[in-house]
């Protein structure tokens, strides 16, 4: 059973020396393999503490953490960390090393041979959309914030860890580049099925990226659920005040077409005029498409391009209905 979980927190808590209150109260949590989990909260809520206990940058005061079924307390911290990618805000890059040296850090610690490292660096830079020829020999100081963070992501994935820990990685990046990086990390996650634990204080970021979102406040988990479930059924007043579930348009931005489309085969049929959207696209985009094209419905296609469903105002109305229930 534990096999399907990448990270399991068992009765974990953390109280720092000389602190009156715990930074993290007793917490039980199971992170599924291959899931993208965001941890959302204000600064000082314990979200970073929770994250740093996974790779033992902080030691838990009570309880234990299982990573891929094994108790982290039994592993040496350095060996444990080499199996996990770790990304922090952009300053985490080594300024005195070139891009390729930065990316090669963990493989070098692990003692890979030169040729294997070289190939890996090229592959990773391509993965994060930095052409190797152009970027390998540059220093971080010569890159923009967004490019630096791409290098940070490539570096974290160098030894192909199954788990990535990310601590507000896009916090210091301007809005436009942040959106591009968010799309990038989603694309990479979908391609490589990493388990990602992603700390952020940005509500939209947490809801956009996470398959599941952990909302924390004052050292306690307030809610752990899928973004839509959080918007539709906020667990308490704290969550409600935080995510504004009454904002329907915002909700629609986090509902994927796939989840509401009419899949009845009888209604599927297309002519060239019918607008189409991908199944991962948000209802908000579909609504805008409907309004813009004045069409009766939008056909939804899967990644292979086959029509799998359709969305008309009929389906959209249900979203409003669900929200009214509160």
């Amino acid at each position: 059973m534990t096999d399907s979980y990448a990270i399991v927190f068992e009765k974990i808590s953390k109280t720092f020396k000389h602190a009156k209150e715990p930074s993290v109260y007793e917490t039980n949590l199971k992170i599924e393999k291959g899931s993208f989990v965001t941890i959302l909260g204000a600064s000082g809520c314990g979200k970073t503490t929770l994250l740093k206990m996974v790779n033992r940058l902080y030691e838990p005061s009570t309880g234990r953490i299982l990573v891929n079924g094994e108790d982290t307390a039994n592993a040496s911290p350095t060996l444990l960390r080499r199996k996990m990618g770790y990304v922090i805000q952009q300053v985490g890059l080594f300024q005195h090393m070139t891009v390729e040296q930065n990316v090669a850090t963990v493989p070098e610690v692990l003692g890979w041979d030169r040729q294997k490292i070289d190939q890996r660096v090229d592959a990773l830079l391509r993965l994060v959309n930095l052409p190797p020829k152009e970027f390998r020999k540059r220093y971080p100081g010569q890159l923009s914030g967004g490019q630096q963070q791409r290098v940070g992501i490539a570096r974290a994935m160098a030894a192909d860890p199954s788990i990535l820990l990310m601590d507000e990685p896009f916090g210091a990046i301007d809005a436009i580049n942040r959106a591009a990086l968010q799309d990038e990390i989603l694309r990479i996650q979908k391609k490589l099925h990493k388990t990602i634990l992603f700390v952020t204080h940005d509500i939209m970021e947490a809801l956009k990226l996470g398959d599941q979102v952990i909302i924390m406040n004052q050292g306690k988990i307030q809610q752990f659920d899928a973004p839509l479930a959080i918007l539709q059924h906020p667990a308490n007043s704290f969550v409600r005040d935080l995510v504004h579930p009454e904002d329907l348009l915002q909700q629609m931005a986090f509902i994927k077409s796939r989840d509401v489309m009419n899949t009845d085969a009888a209604v599927l049929g297309a002519d060239d005029q019918t607008p189409t959207a991908g199944e991962e696209e948000s209802l908000k985009d579909v609504l805008l498409l409907l309004l813009k094209t004045q069409a009766e419905y939008v056909l939804i296609k899967n990644t292979e391009g086959a029509v799998v469903g359709r969305i008309s105002f009929q389906e959209l109305k249900k979203v409003g209905l669900n929200a009214e229930l509160h």
Binding site: N55, L57, P77, T78, L79, L80, R81, R82, K83, Y86, I88, Q89, V91, G92, L93, F94, Q95, H96, M97, T98, T105, V106, V109, Y139, P140, G141, Q142, R155, A156, L165
Partner: protein, 214 residues
Amino acid sequence: MNLLFGAISYIQNNRQVFEQALITHLELSGLALLIGFCVSAPLGVIAAKHARISTMIMSAVNGFRVIPSLAILVLVMPVLGTGFMPSLVALTILACPPVLINTFLGIKRVDGEVIESAEGMGMDRRWILWKIELPLASPLMISGVRTAAVEVISSATLAAFIGGGGLGTFIINGLGLYNFALLLVGALPVAILAICSELLFSLVERWVKRYRKT
């Protein structure tokens, strides 16, 4: 101009004496710098890593700094006598503070988040020191060596006072004999050496800092 020609002709006529003095001078300063670096760089690292002993080491170093170079040379004399060794000891003591202080500052100034990210990637302490902290501290360390080098090269002239030899011998003799050409035989090469070392170490410093250019 006559003085300069006088000095040059003195060097031409006493080639061996001059070369011997120059070599001694270089040996004295080079060795003092090398030993000073080997002692104070590790001390600087230790001071940066252990907050408790850092105040002790740093105040001791700052104490030493106040003592003028001639005083140090004279102070070692009763203990170690005269000649090359005591001069070397005195100059080594002189070389230490700038290197130690700059190593300390260089390591201290490495961004905590850089260290955290290195730890987070599974680097152990030794890797972090050699691959991250020392390279990042090296520009400051080298600028410490630069300061020390100029100080040591110029102070090595004073070694002649306690029989350590070197280019200072010509200066003392020149002063004693009221022979300014002879004085220049010592003073000019010392000035040139000091300038050369300054240039050399700035080049090294620039090379170490090459990643900062954008």
